[in-house]
Amino acid sequence: MRETLQSLQRWAERRLPALTRYRRPEKLPIELHRRRIYIVPTAFGLGFSVLLLVMLIGALNYANNAALLLTCLLGAASSASMLIAFRSLDGLRLSHIHGGHAVAGQPLELTLTFDSRRPRSAIRLDLGECRVAFAPGPATTQVKLSLPTEKRGWQPLPRMRLWSTWPLGLFRAWSWLHPDQAVLVWPRAEAAGPPPKAPGDDARHMQLHRGDELAALRDYHAGDPQRHIAWKASARHENLLVKDFEQPQNRPQWQLDWRQLGGIDSEARIARLARWLNEAQALRCNYSLWLPGNHIASGSGPLHHARCMNALACLP
């Protein structure tokens, strides 16, 4: 049933874009206004109007003016709630979208920033199966959503529905948000495989760096060990100087290279490289990455990792 409806909806959007208000992707910021907010009564709203009709006929039949007044009041309040529903969306502005990092197959966290000049209540945002409700304050509001991902690479953001049944649940106002923005999905790492081929000079390099090698002198800070103070040098200066030792280079140096992975197809290569990148990141070692058309010099840290993964994700 649900699938049928969805396929029908897709068909309708394809064939009748004017009717179903299919909106092309558009640039941020997106501000909701009257030409893109739609309102229909909810099922409850329809039921309630039937009830109002019954009440109206009853009051008229029994010539009971107090009951008629009550019915008119309820009816007028219901109609007014339609305008309130509209106003709860009108003027709301989606200003930024920030995508997090996610591996293909895992949900990606999106942070949407909404601007609102006045407080609103009970705004809901649907993105596929992910639904959140939020109440924008008088300034910016950040809404977190998770976006399902399937494969690596640039993934355009899907259409999102912003809707509200505020205040009474009788009317449903909605608008489509289709930002012209894409998020980069990282490749999925393979589950298991061979370790990267360690360069032969790696071990020697590590030994070379063992030991305390004086690198520089710097100003004394509270907490520095006393034995590191360079007394002789300090005597010639106003301040105490401290011997700064280079940290022992105990991290391995990995050189990850696309060209070394012969004999397997490119997606498998990407998956293997992604696993290695993750392992390198976990071991906190330095690594460089060579990809066709892109060489990333040796480095470490989350930014470096993200750079390498981005490059992997962007491979054709």
């Binding site: 009951a67 009550l70 009816g75 109609s79 007014a80 003027g91 205040p167 449903r172």
Partner: protein
């Protein structure tokens, strides 16, 4: 359509706020209906409601079916046993309220709550079928507040607030909806005849009854509700002429007086009358479920859909089941039936034989004493009441078989019906045609509203005697005993025998408050198909038909839609507060001769102003700096600095340079 709501998916259980508000709504509905439900049902439903509220506070979840089903069966059985059926107003209301409370037992999802609220709205409306007074309607409208608050509480992501505060937005919504509601109320075409059977009027008739047996007025005399309101064209008649007649009673059976529906006189035409002074007035009568329409003294003609009886009582064609207004013209000084036909004379003298021997003896004694002077006999009887040790009380001692003898020579206490009955019997025994008239006497003159408020407690009985050359003359023997009864009204006559809530100042308040009730009765409850057709009379349209009403309703609704849309689409926030503030500064400076020229930037302009007003140079330069910073250093000016700038502009007072 893509935007249509999806089917009900897995709904989370509702939170406690929504449930509490729903319980409050139901409690209000129950309270509004409590008056006309049997007390044990009230108690049971209140217990169920309280228990369910307490139970769900501890742990949310459905009430098991084995509790719900027996309760449903029990409720239906109770209604059937108590009322005999489930159709009709009372059993229907009992069933609706009962089902509503039982619905609470299975309320767990949003959908349940919405169904419950809708149902509660309907139950609130049915409360108005019992009482559509102003207070009842106001309470019912207030009952909508928790219902609306419940619906709001179902929406996700709201700022938390107290229970009381959550009721306020509903009030705002209702207030905003009031103009449209009033328009619809005025213009929704009324039905001239009901589509299906009007509700059964199974309540007891209120007001005067068509017989007067000892004690049956007592209930009425302690009923404080308004019976009718009378507005006069011109000045109201003085208090001693405020006699409103309903029934003229000829038949006495030894116990009480009865109205005979068949005309006692052979002629079905109303008794002839010579009018000296007449008055026009309008009466708004509360429903009595009887046909009689009280009139001021002797009416000259019947209003529409009513008939003048032989004794000039007015009877409507149908029982008065809804508030009714009618216009009349009545004689204040008159000669009613100057010549009495034989049949009337016979009826006016008839007494059952074998009752009240001492009364007969007294009457014969008077007849011998005064000869043919009927008026002297009337005076003698009034003198007897005045000086014979009689007293006025609403709780007289009971009377025996010879009721008039016991009263005149024994107990000597009673109220209007005793006095009028005894007086009429005395007169008949003395050979003077006499009859009893019941109706209302007195009333409270509402200065502000310009109308006379007559309550049920103003019910009164007096006598009429036929005197040659004068026709039927009203004689009020009660006035002989207690003159205040006529000049001040029933409450004053009863003295301290009345309940505490009828004491003076409270009664005064109630009398003044009555003007609101009258306005409500006239303006809202009495606004029927007839009044609606005359709605446009001030604009020259005599008969506003249904089509016209529909057009007006559509036009009016369009107007309100336009107003509503203007509100919804208004974009106050698009105003640039910084720009507005600068404009304010420009205006201040322009008044001192430094106007901004076309194409002049703010920097250049303010620098020029600083040169032109050297006294305030620093101030202006500071303003310019902060403006430039607010405008160009940020995407959006930070609110704090913006406020500072606005305050600075507001406080800036340019001082002109004396050149």
């Amino acid at each position: 359509m893509s935007g249509l709501p999806r089917g009900r998916s897995t709904e989370p259980p509702i939170d406690s706020r929504a449930f509490d508000l729903l319980c409050l709504t139901m409690a209000l509905v129950l309270g509004l209906h409590a008056m006309h439900l049997p007390w044990w049902l009230d108690l049971m439903l209140a217990l169920v409601l309280g228990w369910r509220w307490w139970q769900r506070r501890r742990q949310s979840g459905h009430v098991p079916r084995w509790i719900k089903l027996p309760m449903l069966v029990l409720l239906t059985l109770a209604v059937i046993v108590n009322y005999g059926n489930i159709v009709g107003r009372e059993p229907g209301a009992a069933l609706v309220v009962g089902l509503l409370v039982l619905k609470l037992l299975e309320t767990e999802s949003i959908r349940d709550v919405r169904v419950g609220v809708s149902f509660a709205c309907f139950a609130l409306m049915t409360a108005l079928l019992f009482d559509q007074g102003l207070v009842a309607t106001a309470v019912v409208v207030l009952g909508l507040l928790p219902a609306l608050a419940t619906l709001r509480a179902l929406e996700p992501a709201q700022a938390p607030g107290s229970l009381q505060r959550s009721l306020l937005p509903g009030l705002t919504l209702l207030a905003a909806a009031l103009p449209l509601a009033l328009l619809a109320f005025l213009l929704v075409p009324r039905l001239s005849s009901p589509l299906w059977g009007a509700p059964s009027r199974d309540q007891a008739t209120t007001g005067l009854s068509d017989s007067m047996t000892p004690g049956n007025l007592t209930d009425l005399l302690t009923n404080d509700n308004p019976s009718m309101r009378v507005s006069f064209d011109g000045a109201p008649p003085p208090p001693d002429l405020r006699y409103f007649r309903a029934y003229v009673m000829w038949t006495y059976d030894g116990r009480g007086w009865h109205y005979t529906p068949t005309p006692p006189t052979t002629a079905t035409t109303p008794a002839p009358i010579d009018v000296d002074r007449a008055i026009d007035y309008q009466i708004s009568l509360q429903p009595t479920h009887q046909r009689v329409l009280p009139t001021l003294d002797v009416p000259l003609a019947a209003p529409a859909q009513a008939r003048l009886q032989a004794d000039r009582e007015v009877f409507a064609d149908k029982p008065v089941n809804d508030p009714l207004s009618y216009r009349l013209r009545s004689a204040l000084r008159y000669r009613l039936q100057p010549t009495l036909d034989d049949r009337s004379r016979r009826l006016g003298l008839r007494l059952p034989s074998g009752f009240n021997p001492r009364t007969h003896a007294l009457a014969s004694q008077w007849r011998q004493q005064y000869g043919d002077d009927d008026a002297a006999i009337v005076r003698a009887a009034l003198a007897l009441f005045h000086d014979g040790g009689f007293s006025y009380t609403l709780a007289p001692a009971p009377l025996g078989r010879d009721a008039v003898d016991d009263f005149l020579f024994g107990t000597r206490e009673g109220f209007c019906e005793h006095y009028s009955s005894a007086f009429t019997v005395l007169m008949r025994a003395a050979g003077i045609p006499a009859r009893v008239v019941t109706g209302y006497q007195g009333g409270y003159w509402n200065e502000l509203g310009g109308y006379l408020l007559v309550r049920y407690s103003d019910a009164h009985a007096w006598s009429e005697v036929w005197l040659a050359g004068r026709g039927w003359v009203r004689v009020d023997p009660t006035a002989a005993v207690r003159p205040e009864r006529v000049s001040l009204g029933a409450a004053a006559a009863a003295g301290d025998q009345l309940a505490w809530y009828r004491n003076d100042w409270l009664q005064g308040l109630r009398n003044r408050w009555d003007i609101v009730n009258r306005w409500w009765d006239k303006g809202v409850i009495g606004f029927d198909a007839l009044r609606q057709r005359g709605l446009l009379t001030p604009f020259g349209v005599r008969n506003t038909d249904t089509g016209m009403l529909a057009i007006l309703l559509a036009l009016g609704s369009l107007l309100f839609i336009a107003v509503g849309l203007a509100w919804a689409l208004s974009k106050r926030h698009l105003r640039d507060p910084l720009r507005a503030s600068l404009r304010e500064l420009e205006q201040k400076l322009a008044r001192k001769g430094v106007a901004r020229t076309v194409g002049e930037g703010p920097r250049h302009y303010l620098q020029r102003a600083a040169r032109a007003l050297p006294m305030q140079r620093d101030e202006l330069v500071a303003l310019m700096r902060s403006y430039l910073e607010l405008r160009y250093a940020h995407d959006e000016p930070p609110p704090e600095s913006l406020r500072t700038f606005q305050r600075a502009v507001r406080n800036f007072r340019p001082v002109a340079v004396v050149k």
